[in-house]
């Protein structure tokens, strides 16, 4: 997810909360809506909020709490709403998904290694993908109703399925090629 996309995802979530939202709640809502696709740690969340506030797209205000330090609640500004609207109208700027997963990079630098080590790399990655699919299945089972969020989430889950399926198919090809090369060398 590009920095801009993360910013607008956060801005979109804030825009849906008329009474404002604090960082901690925002983080859990982000996880709920996007957590299967993008992880954002607290540091990244607060940096994003800071950037949005500095550019005037949101406004933060300290709200006192009983027996606790005050917390900062964020609301979208008019400028933020206009910016979000223009961004949503823009055609997506992403090209095809970049080849940037770790296994591809590691393969580039480790292709001369022992076949067993390469196969091990592939298999670790496969286990990771299968667990990711299992997590997506649980999320799919929780989706219900005809709410627009569920509709969009179902389509996003389908996209994630298709991507992981392709990645797993590629791992099969890599594994087969490594094993065949090792057999030829014997």
């Amino acid at each position: 997810m590009s920095t801009a996309a993360v910013q607008y995802a956060v801005l979109g979530l804030i825009s849906s909360r008329r009474d404002g939202i604090h960082g901690y709640r925002l983080k859990s809502e982000f996880e709920d809506r996007f957590g299967d696709f993008w992880a954002l740690n607290y540091g990244q969340m607060y940096r994003t909020l800071d950037r949005l506030e500095r550019t005037g797209l949101i406004a933060g205000a300290e709200v006192p709490q009983v027996g606790r330090p005050p917390r900062r609640v964020y609301r979208i500004t008019d400028r933020g709403r206009k910016s979000l609207h223009s961004w949503l109208e823009l055609p997506p700027g992403d090209g095809p998904r970049a080849m940037r997963d770790e296994v591809a990079v590691k393969l580039l630098f480790r292709s001369g290694e022992r076949p067993d080590d390469l196969v091990d790399l592939v298999r670790r990655q496969r286990a990771l993908y299968l667990r990711h699919l299992s997590r997506l299945n649980k999320r799919r089972a929780r989706l219900g109703g005809d709410a627009p969020e569920s509709f969009a989430s179902r389509l996003l889950l389908l996209q994630a399925d298709m991507r992981v399926r392709t990645d797993l198919a590629w791992l099969e090809v890599v594994e087969k090629a490594v094993l065949e090369r090792a057999a030829d060398a014997r």
């Binding site: 997810m1 993360v6 957590g35 299967d36 696709f37 993008w38 992880a39 954002l40 740690n41 990244q44 298999r123 496969r126 286990a127 993908y129 299968l130 667990r131 990711h132 699919l133 299992s134 997590r135 997506l136 299945n137 799919r140 089972a141 389908l158 399925d161 992981v164 399926r165 797993l168 099969e172």
Partner: protein, 235 residues
């Protein structure tokens, strides 16, 4: 619940001999949902056929609920198949001239259960697969996903200890496949049925607790799918 102990299975003889499973050991505890994956010819379906008693090992032993299948008579095996093992196949195998409830009732009728008990259990099985409203539909009036639901109800109606599924979504589109897998998951979690499923589809395999990969009749990977660490940052 299911155990393969150093099983070898060869087909043919001499020059035409093919070794489908070699020194294959697998232990599936009661209540586990285990999936077998691997390329064609890896030996996946043979494991199901061995468990169903449809073929016998060349060497080694197959156990079902701590009973060694090779020590059982043909008659005892038939009873185990009828009462303790449910089967789900890729092509549903429903009888075209019977409606959904009659198809589901078949295994119970073979057991000679009284009509009232049959009706109650069929109702329950159809409710589990969310098909109570289609009970009087013939297979030709059902979608592929619905036909597979009927087949699952027929497998569950005997209240089996073990369910064997061979590519249960191989003939379905993605959306129907998810529906079927959610159903199998529910059967496993709510009824405690031990499941061994063969699939080539990683998305379906990921519904299990465990994925075992076979290549050339040997286990090359045994993955705990439900062991989930936190998602790493991609932002």
């Amino acid at each position: 619940m299911i155990r393969f102990d150093r099983v070898t299975k060869r087909f043919g003889s001499d020059a035409t001999e093919v070794c489908v499973l070699e020194d294959f050991s697998l232990d599936v505890p009661a209540g586990q949902f285990c999936t077998l994956m691997g390329p064609s010819g890896a030996g996946k379906s043979t494991t199901l056929h061995l468990l169903a008693g449809l073929t016998t090992p060349t060497a080694g032993d197959v156990y079902l609920a701590e009973r060694r299948l090779s020590a059982m008579s043909e008659r005892e095996l038939a009873v185990v198949r009828r009462r303790e093992v449910g089967f789900v196949f890729q092509f549903f195998h429903l009888l075209a001239y019977l409606d959904a409830s009659e198809n589901v009732a078949l295994p119970l009728l073979m057991e000679g259960l009284p009509a009232r008990a049959v009706r109650e259990r069929v109702d329950r099985a159809l409710a589990i697969v969310d098909l109570s409203h289609r009970r009087q539909h013939k297979p030709a009036q059902l979608s592929g996903g619905e036909m597979q639901r009927v087949a699952i109800a027929r497998a569950l109606v005997i209240e089996p200890r073990v369910l064997l599924a061979d590519e249960p979504t191989g003939n379905l589109d993605s959306s129907a496949s998810h529906g079927i897998m959610q159903l199998l998951r529910r059967g496993n979690e709510q009824l405690g049925v031990t499941i061994l499923m063969v699939t080539h589809d990683p998305v379906c395999a990921s519904y299990g607790d465990r994925v075992v990969r076979l290549i050339d009749g040997r286990i090359v990977e045994d993955i705990d799918v439900r062991d989930q660490g936190p998602l790493r940052s991609h932002a």
